[in-house]
């Protein structure tokens, strides 16, 4: 898109100013339209944000350049000189674009991660519920009954000991 604007600028200047104004106006309206339309879709929003960002950056830049162009007329070098500046500015814009791409990508990744984490949490919850209720039904009565059985055997062992000792204790005196 930036290259497109450059071509416009280099080819015709006077008409370009008008054209550029028209294009900036168009882009303004375009921006507004896009902003209004794209609320439902994330990618579009992202695209429009990137686009809007580029557009805002570019339109600012070109409005500045349009105003400054009559002063900088002359010489082939000037456009060339402008190019590094433009490149810097373009780099700045590109940097901003890439940054915003990274930002957009980061946003997408975090939202995907959040979605996956939510699903994982839900399925873990389901599994925990199934495991918990099955454990309650199958294992808890078993533990209770085995404990009771153990208590009963201990009691019987104790009683047997008492009976054994009392019989042993009483037998020798009887003899």
């Amino acid at each position: 898109m930036s290259l497109h604007f450059q071509n416009h600028k280099d080819s015709k200047r006077k008409t370009l100013t008008l054209q550029q104004r028209v294009t900036t106006c168009r882009f303004h309206s375009h921006l507004h339209k896009q902003k209004a339309k794209a609320k439902s879709r994330r990618e579009r929003e992202r695209a429009t944000t990137t686009h809007t960002e580029t557009h805002t950056h570019e339109e600012l830049f070109f409005s500045l350049s349009v105003m400054a162009s009559p002063a900088r007329k002359g010489g082939v070098s000037l456009p060339e000189r402008r190019n590094p500046k433009k490149d810097d500015g373009g780099d700045g814009v590109i940097a901003r674009i890439s940054q915003s791409q990274i930002l957009a990508r980061g946003k997408q990744v975090t939202s995907d991660a959040g979605y996956v984490a939510k699903k994982l949490l839900k399925s873990t919850g389901k599994a925990a519920w199934i495991f918990g209720t099955t454990f309650l039904i199958l294992v808890v009565p078993l533990i209770i009954e085995m404990d009771r059985e153990q208590q009963l055997t201990e009691l019987e062992l104790q009683q047997a000991n008492i009976l054994g000792t009392s019989a042993g204790g009483s037998a020798p005196p009887a003899k």
């Binding site: 209720t133 099955t134 039904i137 199958l138 009565p141 078993l142 009954e145 085995m146 009771r148």
Partner: protein, 307 residues
């Protein structure tokens, strides 16, 4: 003490001799219908929902009466996948006559259904078993009679049912541990016939059975007696016509004060059944069944009074 002679070395040979001789002296096999009874006892307890109170009163040594009250939701078979439950309550009166040679059991329900069972030993080897269920609704009553002949190392049975149902089965002991058998049946009303084979291998510690039938059912079961109190059972059923597979695994703890059976299924069903002895002749029963797939939960409690 020095005059003791060491035991003769032929002692380990006698079991082998016993094994050789025993082919003429094989034990009588388990009846064909009960070929996997250990697995069924462990894995298929009588789960119920609601409240159940059974009272058995013995009037005589041979004769007893029983009263039973059940209240709770009963499932109605419905076409849709949802289970429809309707709360019902019923009272069942029954009379039992038990004799070494003759057993008569009858039950009457409040909705007019009558169950009757007869088991009679006609001679030493031939016995007759009959059961019938009569209802008020027309064409819903059915009855079945079977003649069992018990041989030295085989059993054979011939069954007759209403609706032109004929069946016959035969089971033979092949080795002291292994018995194999087969059955045929013919249902006149549905114009279906089938043939099936079964085998059972049991030792003191384990029982393994396998069954194949032309109705498309392949069933295998294995029961291991881990100790005299604990046994573990597993069961596998595959219907190759309807592509239905079920595997279940269960335990059976027979302790002094209680009997606890638990089972888990591949259909996502976990069930437990506890019979606790509160007092002499007083048993407290608890039943639980959780079906995770259909989200159907059934819990029941009850009391069994009497021997």
């Amino acid at each position: 003490m020095a005059g003791l002679v060491p035991p003769p070395p032929t002692a380990p040979d006698t079991p082998k001799q016993n094994e050789r001789v025993d082919y003429l002296n094989l034990p009588c096999p388990i009846p064909y219908d009960e070929i996997s009874r250990e697995a069924y006892m462990s894995l298929k307890p009588e789960l119920f929902e609601g409240m159940r109170i059974d009272f058995t009163k013995g009037l005589n040594q041979k004769f007893s009466l029983s009263h039973s009250v059940t209240m709770g939701p009963t499932e109605i078979p419905s076409q849709s996948t949802e289970t429809i439950k309707i709360p019902t309550a019923q009272y069942e009166f029954g009379a039992n006559f038990l004799d070494p040679k003759l057993m008569l059991v009858g039950r009457v329900l409040t909705d007019g259904r009558l169950n009757a069972r007869v088991k009679c030993d006609l001679t030493e080897n031939l016995s007759l078993k009959a059961n019938s269920q009569l209802t008020n609704e027309p064409h819903m009553s059915h009855g079945m009679a079977s003649f069992d002949y018990k041989g030295k190392d085989f059993r054979s049975q011939f069954q007759l049912g209403n609706g032109a149902l004929f069946g016959a089965n035969y089971i033979q002991s092949v080795t002291p541990n292994l018995s194999v058998g087969g059955e045929v049946f013919w249902a006149g009303q549905h114009r279906k016939s089938g043939i099936g084979y079964a085998a059972r291998y049991n030792t003191d510690k384990m029982v393994a059975t396998g069954q194949v039938a032309s109705t498309g059912v392949v069933a295998m079961s294995y029961v291991q007696k881990v100790s005299d109190k604990v046994s573990l059972a597993s069961d596998f059923m595959y219907n190759y016509l309807s592509r239905d597979v079920t595997a279940s695994f269960g335990y059976d703890y027979i302790l002094r004060q209680c009997r606890l059976r638990g089972k888990i299924d591949s259909n996502g069903v976990a069930a437990a059944f506890l019979e606790e002895r509160l007092n002499m002749g007083l048993n407290f029963i608890l039943s639980a069944e959780i079906d995770h797939r259909k989200k159907d939960y059934k819990f029941g409690f009850g009391l069994t009074v009497g021997e």
